[in-house]
Amino acid sequence: MDKLPQAQSELREMDTLAAADSPVHRLHPICKLSVTLLYIVIVVSFPKYDLSGLTAMVLYPVIAYQMAGIPIRLCFRKLRYVLPLVCAVGLVNPFLDHTPFVTLGSFTVTGGIISMLTLLFKGCFSLMASFLLIATTSIDSICAALRKLHVPELLVTLLLLTYRYIGVMLEEVGIMSQSYRLRSPGQKGIHISAWGSFLGQLLLRSMDRAQELYSSMLLRGFRGEFFYAQGSPFGFGDAVFLLGWGIAFLCARRWNLPAVAGSIFVR
């Protein structure tokens, strides 16, 4: 049950990061969202043997993290969510794909090894990019951006409300699990006899909370619409950021930039 405090502190950390100020923080959320999505799409679209070409893509997160003033190591902790499945899939490649690729002395690098590395890099890179997005953009700006992109009101409102109550619920579940643990020494989790009542209790209480919440919304004139802070409009800087990186990504995808750079020194 140690996941709960961890989730709470992670959530708080993300909020703190997003509340900071930097050139990246000040960008329009739609701009950041587009760049991030474009980046991930391009990273993922690299062919499985194009490891050297893919490495050029590391430059965007590295540069953007520096611009945002966020230490890059923060995002690596999140890798534990991404790695398991990627590894499970990627790590079998070397055993199944024996196409010889490069021979380094007596060791032959097979296609499987290359494709495995490519896969792992893709996983890391896309994680770095999406972490950067959320570490520099608050949930309300993201929701405001989603509304501007015509994502249905109901879904965006639900996202906003759910995000708000995740903090509350983590706390409630945390208190409950603590009181459970204090009275059940040596147990690692919830015993079968309490499977239903543990979350069930909280669920019943949450229903009452939802009722209160709805009253509070009605009392302030709720008619299905939420309002967001008026951010600055999509400016020149946003356009430059979007276009610049867009072109850079496309170039990196079209030409193998590391190979080009390498060929200057190696003849």
Binding site: L11, R12, D15, A19, S138, I139, D140, L160, L161, Y163, R164, Y165, G167, V168, R209, E212, L213, S215, S216, M217, L218, L219, R220, G221, F222, R223, E225, F226, F227, Y228, A229, Q230
Partner: protein, 240 residues
């Protein structure tokens, strides 16, 4: 300002929560609503806001509380909930504060002006863009009051505004309540707070008014309070 005339309400006919209740509150008055658990304090507030429908007549500022007038009533009456987490449902304090005014048709600029006015008056400017789940309990309670003040209501209802606060935060909330010029109705078990904030007290018992009068008179009456499952405010208790 507030009129209750023969109001009754019950969830099940055999257990009336509020029975044949009549009272009135003048504009600018501060009234404490006290009584044991289940005496009907919250029910009265919910009836006033049209969240519950009973029988009899209720009016606020000469507007009868009924389905047609709901939005007008709710614009006039602000309700500070007991659990600020239920009141503050948006991610940031700012978003919560603009929610009411914008819903009632205020322009973004006017809303912005109101938000700043309320926050600076309560000395909460630094909370403006803070996240609701990251501010302390005391700050949250003050912010909840601010969201209601941003709607500029004529009447403020408060449900247990001083619970679960440390002494300093409690004092801050009390002092804030004292400076509010609006008509106030405060339901609480914190009799010392009632003593500090209200001139008049209505003592409820099983949905009926057991006593209605000057705060000091009622809160000094030990036998009356004990009869209704309460005790003297701490400041009137003789230390042993």
């Amino acid at each position: 300002m507030i009129q209750f005339k023969n109001v009754s309400f019950s969830y099940a006919p055999e257990h009336p929560v509020v029975e044949n209740l009549s009272f009135s509150i003048q504009a600018g008055e501060s009234v404490g609503l006290i009584g044991a658990n289940g005496a009907g304090k919250s029910t009265i507030m919910k009836l006033m806001l049209g969240l519950l429908q009973g029988t009899g007549e209720i009016s606020v500022g000469n507007i009868p509380v009924n389905r047609q007038n709901l939005s007008e009533i709710r614009k006039k009456v602000g309700f500070v909930l007991q659990d600020s987490d239920n009141q503050m449902f948006m991610p940031t304090v700012y978003q919560d504060m603009i929610f009411g005014p914008r819903n009632y048709g205020l322009s973004p600029e006017e809303t912005e002006r109101r938000v700043d006015k309320v926050l600076s008056r309560l000395g909460l400017m630094e909370l403006k863009f803070r996240h609701n789940h990251k501010i302390s309990g005391g700050e949250k309670r003050m912010a909840a009051i601010a969201t209601i003040l941003a709607m500029e209501p004529e009447v403020i209802l408060m449900d247990e505004p001083s619970t679960a606060l440390d002494p300093v935060n409690r004092r801050t909330v009390i002092n804030t309540i004292r400076t509010l010029p609006q008509t106030k109705l405060i339901a609480s078990h914190d009799l010392d707070m009632i003593l500090d904030t209200c001139q008049r007290v209505i003592l409820l018992s099983h949905g009926n008014i057991a006593a209605d009068g000057d705060t000091k008179d009622i809160l000094r009456n030990q036998s009356l309070l004990e009869k209704h499952r309460m005790e003297l405010p701490l400041c009137f208790q003789r230390r042993v």
